[in-house]
Symmetry: D2
Subunit: 151 residues, 4 copies
């Protein structure tokens, strides 16, 4: 069985801090919406590094690609505000990983945006999707306390 999922709300075991830059702001003087995705990318990569699944350097060996992303914008990010991103994987399929992420104010932890992102295991050299490796499945499920749907 390839469908593993997170039973119950567990909160985030990993947070990644983002220092907001002047260059993240747009003509309306808040962080521009596309940079929310930049923050989510950064946080997901930080999560992988934290779990020891990527060396941070061999980018053509990074075995995933974004399949879909959705973001709900709850509050603007103002100049001078820093944020943190909670990251967790809630479901592991045969080839797909479901990320649940939340951008929060670094200081008061108010929710700024929520996101669901689906990543697919991918071989960039062969340009095709691949099954999630046993190593990734073992490390992620252990970290997230994700269990197989039916043993």
């Amino acid at each position: 069985m390839h469908l593993w999922y997170n039973r119950g709300m567990a909160g985030y075991h990993f947070y990644h801090t983002i220092h907001v830059r002047y260059a993240d702001l747009d003509t309306q003087w808040h962080v521009t919406n596309s940079h929310y995705l930049t923050f989510l990318d950064e946080a997901r990569l930080g999560y992988l590094l934290h779990l020891g699944l990527f060396d941070g350097r061999s980018f053509l060996d990074l075995p995933w690609i974004v399949a879909s992303v959705s973001v709900n914008f709850l509050a603007p990010i103002e100049p001078g505000q820093d944020v943190k991103v909670g990251v967790r994987i809630t479901r592991l399929g045969h080839k797909s990983m479901h990320f649940d992420m939340q951008i929060e104010d670094l200081l008061n932890e108010a929710a700024i945006a929520t996101s669901e992102t689906v990543m697919v295991a991918y071989d960039y050299r062969k340009q095709q999707s691949i099954p999630i490796s046993d190593e990734w499945r073992k490390v992620i499920s252990s970290f997230e306390k994700i269990l197989p749907l039916i043993e």
Copy 2:
């Protein structure tokens, strides 16, 4: 009645061309996922300019803000590839506009990504949501052939 919607699939009455840049590429040598949102932003702004609803300059008077966005990534955008973005509004609520957008290859028109984006009418000076103005409702509904749900 504030709920107006597009009856039936009508295709796109507006397309915006995007010339892909080297700076849109990431370490995996395709357009990075956050820049898909940059392309969607650019196309939505082009749509507004096309409809004569924004002068392209008075950014604090641009009366909308992104509430939510979802993107399905169907194919990578490779170096040297240019794209166009189809933009249409499928629904006008009291304060919200639903955009249906599609990124396509400029030459063969193959679908690269689809997106649903909800914009909310917003006053940046007062920092609060506002009803969609009669002018916007009139111009958009005329362009999109959107009719009130119940006359």
Copy 3:
């Protein structure tokens, strides 16, 4: 006399830390050259905030504009490397400020890039250059130990 300058090499009284992001990398897997300017912008803004000369929010009241910039690239910035930027003003003219900046490795302080940037005092609402205000001249010259050329 409007020409004030820094007599002798004084080192930097201000450093600004930059956390390098995945989105700063390009297809060659190092920080792309244009983002060095992003880092310099960020550091100059941090300098202004540190000196209490800008509130970080009223961007149309930020009274300067970039006149020229030069950068010497001494070493690449690799994935996972963080940097700090030393900022100092070496000369105050009637309307211009000369910045000497250096990007250094955050840990070993090795020089990564050096830059000279000339900023001109500017009124964005009137869209014209203006003399440096007495307040700015006083605060900057005090912080940098810059003296008038001829007393």
Copy 4:
């Protein structure tokens, strides 16, 4: 002799058009200074593609790196304004290429910024500088009418 240079002002034999995006603007409502470098990068790459010296895809085989860049900002780029970038190589050294570039308004050709950029021939796989190849020297000198300093 490795020092070849352009005798006399020859104008630009190559121009690259840049469609300015909303995302190029900053909080002061003009194109942000770091994106001038993005435009110069894009134009230099367009020049290489035009001369048939790069396939636009094998980025680790792109044999150059930026050594230094200087930009003089003559005028802001406003929303809605498109630009073109004149590119020429004025000097070929043993390992270095001197680029003289100018950003101009697309319509009235008014100068917006001038830049001198030094690129160094570079092997990204070995991470070291290399001599400019005979092929590059031949193609560039032919295109630019650059002659050896001493025949």
